[in-house]
Assembly symmetry: C2
Homo-oligomer: 339 residues x 2
């Protein structure tokens, strides 16, 4: 590996290292002559400043860490994309970590981000407040929660208010005549898993729908658990006539399982999923979803993080969710039907 330092540039330009540094970092206390010679030398040598040395001295890395639980989940892929683009606008590079829905990997990446001294961290956390997240708070590293939070850890957050969307979905299904709605829940170790579960139970109770515990199956936000849940739910003596799924990967799994059972969503069993993902609208029939704005969420998180980095204390934000009705849940229940 060829290694070119600021000394080489200084020597070629015929000025001191100090002046070279000033020119390169845009310090105005430089002469036009020095500027042009340094720039020419840097270009000729293809000089790339060593970010480590720079950060070591200036305690700024111009990098933020983004930790998501699962990059393959289209919602988080979108989120990563919007966060990254928003950060880029403000001159921050994004280090993306994927916790793979596992606490040990989340801790590993958090330690890594701390060690790299990123200027701030945006995290969609999982687990309780133990482990490396404690170090982040303890060292007062600027950080914000996105999508999810952790109880007892006091960080600004941007989240979705799932209550409205879930209530709309339950009302909608109830209006079509469904009384037994199956709920494929997310893991109760995540705030979104818990909130959505609570919202569902509350909404179903308010509408006087069945609260049979067998109608609720807990998944892990990943596709495979969606399939398993469907097989469990549809094997009940009194199976649900509608399903509400707490995220889109589990919905993929669920829909696949329904098809393999020879059933059809929309007509045989109604289905509403969380997350407004492109392909859910393309399925036949298109799938009703509870949508929330990924773009806003990413942008707001970056803005909030910048505020924290600059010493501020932004208010947490809660974004609305709303139901988008499509054919997967548009057919009224046929009371004569039995399976």
């Amino acid at each position: 590996m060829v290694t070119i330092t600021i000394k080489d540039v200084a020597a070629l330009a015929g000025v001191s290292v100090a002046t070279t540094s000033r020119v390169l970092s845009g310090n105005p206390a430089t002469s036009a002559d020095a500027r042009s010679r340094v720039h020419a030398a840097a270009a000729e040598l293809d000089y790339h400043p060593n970010a480590q040395a720079r950060a070591l001295r200036s305690t700024r890395t111009h990098a933020i860490g983004l930790l998501v639980p699962d990059v393959r989940n289209p919602f988080f892929a979108d989120l990563a994309h919007t966060v990254e683009q928003a950060a880029l606008v403000h001159g921050f590079a994004t280090l993306l970590g994927n916790a793979n829905e596992r606490k040990d990997q989340q801790d590993r990446y958090l330690d890594n981000l701390i060690a790299r001294r990123v200027d701030g961290i945006i995290v969609a956390p999982l687990g309780d407040g133990s482990g490396s997240i404690r170090s982040v708070v303890g060292r007062e590293i600027p950080a914000v929660f996105i999508d999810r939070t952790i109880e007892g850890i006091d960080l600004p957050s941007v989240t979705t208010d799932s209550d409205t969307g879930i209530r709309e979905a339950v009302d909608h299904l109830a209006a079509l005549g469904h009384t037994r709605i199956g709920y494929i829940a997310g893991p109760q170790s995540t705030s979104t898993g818990r909130e959505r579960y609570a919202s569902f139970v509350r909404a179903a109770g308010d509408r006087g729908l069945s609260l049979d515990p067998a109608l609720i199956v807990f998944g892990d936000f990943q596709a495979e658990s969606g399939s398993t849940a469907v097989r469990t739910l549809l094997a009940l003596n009194e199976p649900p006539t509608a399903l509400l799924v707490a995220d889109s990967p589990m919905a993929i799994g669920a829909i696949g399982a329904i098809q393999r059972l020879g059933l059809r969503i929309g007509t045989d069993v109604a289905l509403v999923s969380f997350d407004d993902i492109d392909w859910l609208a393309l399925l036949d029939p298109p799938v009703s979803v509870i949508a929330h704005s990924v773009a806003d969420m990413g942008r707001i998180a970056v803005d909030m993080l910048r505020t924290v980095i600059d010493g501020g204390a932004p208010e947490s934000v809660r974004l609305p969710s709303r139901l988008i009705v499509r054919a997967s849940s548009a057919t009224p229940i046929d009371p004569g039907r039995s399976r």
Copy 2:
């Protein structure tokens, strides 16, 4: 931000900085006594070594950069996931960059990775051999190409041999009676875009199918261009009866557009897409795809990069692709039909 250095740890443990460093980095020349006291002190202070300082001195960052053209493309999301997991096994953290299918952003991230002195770079490149990719080669930074390559830049690569899969797809469609196959191509600024295009033309020619230039539309590997392409193709006087799409995001766009035209894939127009993505199998009818192994690709790329980092010169690898027939292309053409 609270900042704790190795000096604090050394002081608390009652040993020198040198000994502390040795203990913390696993150097065996340490006494059991020193080890236990240093570890206790480090734990008590919640000490996290400064990765910048460490890398500055040791010229190793234990980080690799992964640059993909589009994280929202499920193929690259999967790839990011497998690369990251494979890297983690060998103790490397992955810095994921998203070029957003734009050369300027690719260059920006490459510069960033160079500046951060990552130990190596895995890149699915776009554009020609100009810009920052030159710096990578010039500085002899360990790097490998994944999925795509750049002509004239001599780096080891792991790619897909699309020829076999495309030939199978064309043969399959021809056997069903299709003579006019529309091809939604990727951008010719990418190696995969060019190769798949060439393979298609060759396969179609060999089978004696129409090579009408109007049947080929060039997209940009993103969803929107798939819709536009479909509208163009199906508006022809003699529209194609089958479509081959060069990647899955364009397939999303294409399928959406077909549905909005009131047509149905499989029966009204056959469709085969590249990339074996979960949800393509869930659509109704399920979509035939040309599959290639993401998992192998990620693992092999990491292994190759490790070889380069250790001074080796690995052989490039070409993975096979193969057709998976599903209902979207299983119906023989109806010769009596006209539109």
